[in-house]
């Protein structure tokens, strides 16, 4: 195993696992043959080709199956991550509900939508009750104070309507996704702590009304932009649908505090809307030639 081969193997990790196992060797042969003798560092042109080829292979592998159902599943996974992340810091006072919510998220990620439905409905009811300050299922001391990751009591800023909207959207979509098994990558679970963490306060003015932590801003913007690029490459609308659903929930939260949103909230909202609209248009752009 020469140094060059090891570097090319490392670069080939840009390709998805299935593609790599099936055709990795083939590409490696060609790379090593076309590299000149005594070459130790991959050529810049080849590196760019491999990285962009790998990313596009990943996108085209994801862009299989019915785009609308997969886009719907993508959207409700994102919304369920946000809902579960909202509960996570209150593990101490609401252990059962955090566990139920996590189970629901896991069921959705593994594609077992019918199992997730009751869990989502129950957690949604409880979360809405807390947001409305009512008691449901069990006695909980309201307001619910956090143990870690954030300093704010549960749903102190989001009204019951926004919370209910989030859960209702997920619950309504689950029966539609009954048939084909959709599974998401486990990385979605890794997003949980990142979204739950209150993180550095980026929007200070109006922050106490509707806090948006920097990490959540950056994560959402990055994922939606990545989705737009994927839609552009594969001419597939699923990521646009997913972003639109997430944006819908975010908008209901924003709409609740409309009269005292700060300029930064509006700028962020405008940015996400712009990227989502762009990602909806990109898959249907003009085909320059028959094979475009």
């Amino acid at each position: 195993m020469t140094v060059l081969e090891r570097r090319y193997r490392w670069l080939l990790r840009c390709y998805p696992r299935a593609y790599r196992t099936a055709h990795g060797g083939e590409l490696l042969d060609l790379l090593l043959d076309s590299a000149g003798p005594g070459r130790r560092v991959p050529e810049a042109r080849e590196v760019v080709g491999l990285v962009s080829g790998g990313l596009q292979a990943r996108v085209h592998e994801l862009a299989r199956g019915n785009p609308w159902r997969d886009g719907l599943h993508l959207g409700i996974t994102a919304i369920m991550v946000v809902n579960t992340a909202a509960l996570l810091p209150y593990l101490g006072s609401l252990p059962i509900w955090v566990v139920v919510s996590l189970a629901a998220l896991l069921a959705i990620v593994r594609g077992r939508t019918l199992l997730a439905l009751p869990l989502v409905v129950v957690t949604g009811a409880k979360a809405t009750a807390i947001a409305a300050g009512a008691q449901l299922f069990e006695l909980t001391l309201i307001p619910v104070y956090p143990d870690f990751l954030t300093g704010r009591p549960l749903h102190s800023t989001t009204g019951p309507l926004a919370v209910a909207a989030g859960y209702a959207l997920v619950a309504a979509s689950l029966p539609i996704l009954r048939g084909v098994r959709h599974t998401r990558s486990a990385w979605w679970l890794a997003a949980l702590p990142l979204v739950a963490w209150a993180g550095p306060e980026w929007i200070s003015e109006g922050g106490e009304i509707f806090p948006l932590s920097l990490n959540r801003l950056v994560l959402a913007a990055a994922l939606i932009t990545l989705g737009a690029w994927a839609g552009h490459v594969s001419r597939d609308p699923r990521w646009a649908l997913g972003s639109a659903l997430y944006l819908l929930v975010l908008s209901t939260e924003m709409a609740q505090h409309l009269d005292f949103l700060s300029r930064q909230h509006l700028a962020y909202w405008g940015l996400l809307t712009f990227v989502t609209v762009a990602s909806a248009a990109l898959p249907y752009r003009y085909r320059r030639h028959p094979l475009d």
Binding site: W202, E205, S262, R263, Q264
Partner: protein
């Protein structure tokens, strides 16, 4: 004159006046010949092509003449505009110097460098005096406070250190000297540039209060972004790097501001500087790439 012709004439105003007077009729003739007799409003495709063609014609016309001279002149003009705008809130306390820096703007705009250099030098010395708190040249009560609508603002150059104002004035003077040395006479700039002055009046970069999102600060950042994006597009269309050069000239004082106020600079100031750096980088890189691909 049919309604269609009037609408096409209105669309042709996208083209620069020189081009319009030379070829406007020709384009109009072809447009009207091609239109079906019953047509009343221009088709979207033609309208869009005219607007785009007009903008490109304006950019190509702006790309005439030596790139270095024009680039420096553009940068110097933008700097003089911003330097003048910063002084406006303190008109009643430093009227002489405000008038002088206004004259500098006019001279740079009309391309009369001989007059601009001494004025810029004098005002520059006074600016340094104010920042260092020395009573040079004339008696001004220090620190200088803002007038009526801008009372909330801190004293003139009170916020950042002496480096930033000095940097922007010195850079302007150096640019003027460089232009004077080169024999080509810089072109006259359009009066529209003066429109920027009221927009950015009183927005001292050192005090640019982005966090509070004060309207003036947002307008200034918006104007900077729009101008830099236009520079990137112009560089892409013509492969000419004068706009990149002007953007770089503008970036230097902005960087001096950030370096000086580093201790108190908030996240937004750093993000603002990052945006400027990114756009300036694009404005300088895009023309080189465009030149490599012959855009025939």
């Amino acid at each position: 004159m049919s309604r269609l012709e009037r609408r096409y004439r209105w669309l042709l105003r996208a083209y620069p006046t020189g081009y319009r007077s030379d070829y406007g009729d020709e384009l109009l003739g072809v447009l009207l010949d091609r239109a079906e007799p019953t047509r009343v409003s221009p088709p979207v495709r033609e309208a869009w092509a005219l607007v785009l063609g007009g903008v490109r014609a304006r950019i190509v016309e702006a790309a005439q003449g030596p790139a270095w001279t024009d680039g420096i002149h553009l940068g110097v003009m933008v700097l003089s505009l911003f330097n003048f705008a910063v002084l406006i809130p303190y008109a009643s306390s430093v009227p002489v110097w405000l008038g002088m820096s206004g004259l500098v703007v006019l001279c740079v705009l009309r391309g009369r460098l001989g007059l601009a250099i001494p004025l810029a030098l004098l005002t520059g010395v006074k600016v340094v005096a104010i920042t260092l708190g020395k009573p040079w040249l004339d008696e001004t009560l220090l620190p200088v406070f803002a007038d009526a609508p801008w009372e909330g603002m801190p004293a003139l150059y009170g916020n950042g250190g002496p480096l930033a104002p000095l940097a922007s004035w010195l850079l302007m003077i150096l640019g003027l000297v460089a232009l004077a040395i080169r024999e080509e006479r810089p072109r006259r700039r359009s009066w529209w540039w003066l429109l920027a002055v009221p927009l950015v009046a009183g927005t001292d970069p050192a005090w640019l209060d982005l966090v509070a999102g004060s309207p003036a600060a947002v307008v200034r950042v918006g104007l900077e972004t729009v101008l830099l994006l236009a520079a990137v597009y112009a560089g892409h269309v013509t492969g000419d790097s004068r706009w990149g050069l002007a953007a770089a000239l503008y970036l230097l004082p902005a960087s001096a501001v950030l370096i000086e106020t580093m201790a108190t600079a908030g996240r937004q100031d750093v993000a603002h500087w990052g945006l400027l750096l990114l756009l300036t980088g694009a404005a300088t890189a895009v023309p080189l790439r465009a030149r490599r691909h012959v855009l025939l």
